[in-house]
């Protein structure tokens, strides 16, 4: 088995204990930094976007889907370039999900090993749970310990798994080409940001849902150590694919091939990319094709459905649903708290995407925070001037419910509107009509100030409906 061959090489090629400790220190430091950045405790909310934006998976999907390369791509660019030469360097040195996943996997290994050591190899390696305290020069990178061991005991089973991560990547990028990168939300950095951020908001169902993807990954890491990082993670799969050209190149010289094999084994042993299966070209074609077809199908299926009101700068609904990685940044950055994760109102495809609900505030004319913190380009960063002109919906008056139109005193929506888009109309006929508020279409941007202030019970007499006609992609 390839993995065993790699094991043998490891003793020589992999880092010394000091090197391992260094790498471990770097990984935990990155984890802490990423957590701080994702927590949004720093004064500049732009850092919220940094963690998910570092993922080349998100960046490429975003660039393909929006046909644009934003400033945030600069964060992912070095990650991507380095991955061309150092396979899975990001997993080994930086990925915050990777370090947690691996630590959990190792914990489980310890628990199992403790009662009765099953194999000599395991006993030999046992009892060194944390890389920094691991003094045994067992010839492996700390990160490699668990997945390799796991693969030895489970190797045959895991190795037969298809390269799910790569398929996720290809399908997503294929979808992105036609504007719908459907599985980009499986990005580990997005999950990480979402899970960290969820705990800084009032706890509830949303906390659970926002933490669920990461929790699932961690559960997988405990049950099948190494499976997420090695087989399932699309970011990992992407790095595998990115490293292919360099590997083909090296294959021409024997030593280089060996070294490459060693390196690639540092994190995951039986990396499926290497284990044959479909040839890369075919895989690319198939994955992208399936993704594109699924995206087009979703467009046809989604036609006519009423989308919820999206944040200002959101790309058109279908692409938005695909591009949004559900990191929760915009929800947290919104100072008025009107952005909420969609819990089903917008359809299954829109699950956990942000929607604007005007019950605790409205979309303020002096704020463009959501666009600033969006790492995936689902919400374009708009300058304030442009944001104020961006229509996210249009207010509608239900005269039957309106207090003013019911012969009572009210003009709340008129004074609430920051854009002077609501006026009181005196009816032509004195009877039976009363004066009523009217929304001036050209002025209303759908900010929801009127809906927020309206004294009627929800659903309020004046409320914002997404305006499909004016909504959309003006990025």
């Amino acid at each position: 088995m390839a993995s065993e061959k790699a094991n043998a090489k490891d003793g020589r090629a992999a880092a010394s204990p000091r090197g391992r400790r260094l790498r471990s220190a770097v990984r935990w430091t990155v984890l802490v930094l990423a957590a701080v950045a994702a927590a949004g405790v720093l004064p500049w909310d732009g850092v919220l976007a940094l963690v998910p934006a570092a993922s080349p998976f998100v960046a490429v999907a975003s660039a393909l889907a929006t046909r644009a390369v934003g400033v945030l791509s600069l964060v992912a660019a070095p990650v991507l370039l380095l991955a061309l030469f150092k396979r899975r360097w990001f997993c080994r040195w930086a990925c915050p999900v990777g370090v947690v996943s691996e630590t959990l996997g190792r914990l489980r290994g310890r628990l199992q090993r403790r009662p009765n050591a099953r194999t000599s190899t395991e006993t030999e390696r046992g009892g060194s749970p944390h890389p920094p305290r691991d003094n045994k020069a067992d010839g492996q990178g700390a990160a490699g310990t668990e997945p390799r061991r796991a693969s030895r005991s489970r190797g045959p089973r895991l190795a037969r798994w298809p390269a799910v991560g790569q398929w996720i990547l290809l399908v997503t990028l294929g979808g992105a080409c036609v504007g719908y990168p459907m599985l980009v939300w499986l990005d580990p950095l997005g999950m990480f940001t979402s899970a960290v951020g969820a705990w800084l908001r009032p706890l509830g169902l949303v906390t659970v849902l926002a933490t669920a993807p990461l929790a699932a990954v961690l559960a997988i890491s405990v049950l099948a150590p190494g499976a997420w990082c090695g087989w399932l993670c699309p970011l990992g799969g992407m790095q595998d694919l990115l490293a292919l050209p360099a590997r083909w190149f090296r294959r021409r010289g024997g030593d280089e091939m060996k070294r490459a094999a060693v390196k690639e084994n540092d994190l995951t042993t039986a990396s499926p990319a290497r284990d044959g299966g479909l040839a890369v070209g075919r895989r690319l074609f198939l994955g992208a094709g399936v993704g594109g077809a699924a995206a087009l199908a979703s467009e046809v299926a989604g036609r006519g459905a009423a989308p919820p009101v999206r944040p200002p700068g959101a790309v058109d609904e279908r692409r938005f649903v695909g591009l949004c990685i559900r990191c929760g940044n915009c929800v947290r950055a919104c100072p008025t708290g009107i952005l909420k994760p969609d819990l089903g109102g917008g359809g299954l495809a829109a699950f956990m995407t942000p929607r604007a609900v005007f019950d605790v505030g409205y979309c303020r004319e002096d704020c463009n925070a959501c666009g600033r913190v969006c790492p995936s380009g689902a919400i374009a960063p708009l300058p304030l001037e442009e944001k104020r002109r961006r229509t996210i919906g249009i207010a509608e008056v239900e005269v039957e419910k309106c207090v003013l139109a019911g012969g009572q005193e009210c003009a709340v929506c008129v004074s609430a509107c920051p854009y002077q888009a609501v006026e009181v109309v005196e009816p032509e006929e004195a009877f039976p009509a009363y004066p009523y508020p009217r929304v001036i279409a050209g002025l209303c941007v759908g900010c929801g100030a009127c809906e927020y202030e309206c004294p009627t019970a929800p659903p309020r007499a004046i409320r914002v409906r997404p305006d499909a006609g004016t909504l959309g992609d003006r990025v």
């Binding site: 039957e400 019911g406 012969g407 009572q408 709340v412 009877f431 039976p432 004294p455």
Partner: protein, 460 residues
């Protein structure tokens, strides 16, 4: 010219009147031999010889008001001009704080547009922070509502989990009467504050017009709760004026007897809405006529709107009866007062803006807290500076005419806000009078403590 009324004629009349007055004040029963009607109290007679109180005179096509000395009707510590929601709260708060307090009101009852305008609906009593609903109208205003809730048919939608109650006009007038009396306020009804009494840049009282003519009421501090800012405008304070819709409210009686079938004949999706909103009186509902945007200080406008509105209300009710075929419904009452929503706005030491209330800004000198019309947005602190004129001393504003940006008018003119700013102004005036200081120099911590002791909500 035979019929012209000459100056000599005038003198004759005045002499006769003066003589008559002199006789009447001394020996009416004897002179007229009729003791059935009680005699009036002694008044300063119009003296035709000295002309101490000369009437206005036409001179060269202009009407000249000669200079004259005004009798002082009353002297007090705190004088509140205007007996609406704000003035009522101010008078009660000042009197309870220990100040000798008087209130002048142009009509014969308290409550202003609340009762006389039949507005009835006390909006903005609550606000919301997170999941918590906060009652912002407390203190004098809430005490009034509480007392109403103990009377029959006096208030609805008041109590736990209720916001924006509707009160009955007569019950409200009655409880306001009782509370001002209990507080020991000197009540001067049928007195219209028409001018300010100035001592350099300091307001020292107001001139009132009544059946007794012009008189002065002197005070250490005056609270302008006229709604229109009549006192601060007369005193020369910097201010602005805004136009707003001027309407008229009416009450419909026998509403419950309008049957479903009759309503259906009206047509439309929800014809019941034509019958307005509920009141505490059974089978009585109130209906708002919003009216056009107009100048609420212009007498011609006010007169025309009063006539027009009353006519259209009559037509409306008649049309309803004709279309529905119902003959039980009747127009119970048209509000005695025209619904002027806003006129003058003071330029105070702080001009509270809409933005400062929607993203509520904490003010160290908070003296009141505003609520949300739908009880749904956060409470907003109201700083003392909105009550204090920029330059003038001896005066505080309260109610709908305090210093604010245009977009806030819609919130500040509501009864809820008037009750709280009135309470604050009354308490501040009492402290200024007690300490002999200018209202702008009142110690804010002492004022806040007094307000809290009086039950007001300051959010701190």
């Amino acid at each position: 010219m035979a019929n012209a009324f000459t100056r000599r004629d005038l003198m004759r009349v005045l002499s006769a009147a003066g003589f008559g007055a002199a006789v009447s004040t001394t020996r009416v029963p004897e002179a007229f031999g009729d003791a059935a009607l009680p005699k009036a109290r002694e008044r300063q007679p119009i003296d035709p010889t000295t002309l101490a109180h000369p009437p206005a005179r036409l001179s060269g096509g202009k009407v000249i008001q000669p200079e004259r000395t005004l009798p002082v009707l009353h002297e007090t510590d705190v004088l509140v001009a205007g007996g609406g929601a704000a003035g009522f709260a101010a008078a009660v708060a000042a009197a309870r704080a220990g100040a000798r307090t008087a209130i002048v009101e142009r009509y014969g009852y308290f409550g202003g547009l609340w009762t006389g305008g039949l507005v009835l609906l006390v909006i903005s009593t609550h606000a919301r922070t997170g999941d918590k609903r906060i009652q912002v109208v407390r203190g004098v205003g809430d005490e009034l509502l509480q007392r109403l809730s103990r009377l029959d048919h006096a208030v609805i939608n008041y109590g736990p989990d209720r916001i924006n109650p509707t009160s009955d006009a007569e019950a409200t007038k009655y409880v306001m009467d009782e509370m001002t009396r209990e507080a020991g306020v000197t009540v001067l009804l049928h007195c219209w504050a028409v001018d300010a009494v100035m001592d350099d840049r300091q307001v020292r009282g107001v001139v009132v017009e009544s059946k007794e003519g012009r008189q002065a009421v002197l005070a250490k501090v005056v609270v302008d709760a006229t709604g229109d800012g009549d006192v601060f405008a007369a005193a020369g304070a910097e201010h602005a004026q805004r136009l707003h819709a001027i309407g008229l409210v009416h009450l419909l009686g026998n509403v419950d007897r309008v049957s479903k079938e009759e309503l259906e004949k009206i047509g439309g999706k929800n014809p019941r809405r034509l019958l307005g909103a509920p009141t505490p009186r059974p089978s009585v509902r109130w209906v708002n006529l919003r009216g056009p945007s107009a100048d609420g200080l212009d007498v011609e406008t006010l007169s025309r709107l009063e006539l027009d509105h009353r006519r259209s209300i009559w037509r409306r009710v008649e049309q309803f009866r004709e279309k529905s075929g119902d003959d039980d419904l009747f127009l119970m009452q048209v509000a005695p007062q025209l619904g002027v929503r806003t006129t003058r706005i003071l330029a105070g030491t702080h001009c509270l803006t809409y933005a400062e209330t929607r993203e509520p800004k904490p003010f160290p000198d908070v003296v009141a807290v505003g609520g949300a019309q739908n009880g749904n947005h956060p409470p907003w602190p109201i700083p003392y500076g909105v009550l204090v004129p920029k330059q003038l001393d001896g005066l505080l504003a309260a109610g709908r005419c305090v210093s604010m940006g245009d977009r806030l008018i819609e919130d500040m003119r509501l009864i809820g806000s008037c009750l709280t700013t009135g309470h604050a102004a009354g308490a501040a005036a009492a402290l200024a009078a007690r300490d002999g200081c200018r209202p702008r120099d009142v110690e804010v911590p002492a004022l806040q403590k007094l307000l809290k002791d009086q039950g007001a909500y300051l959010g701190i």
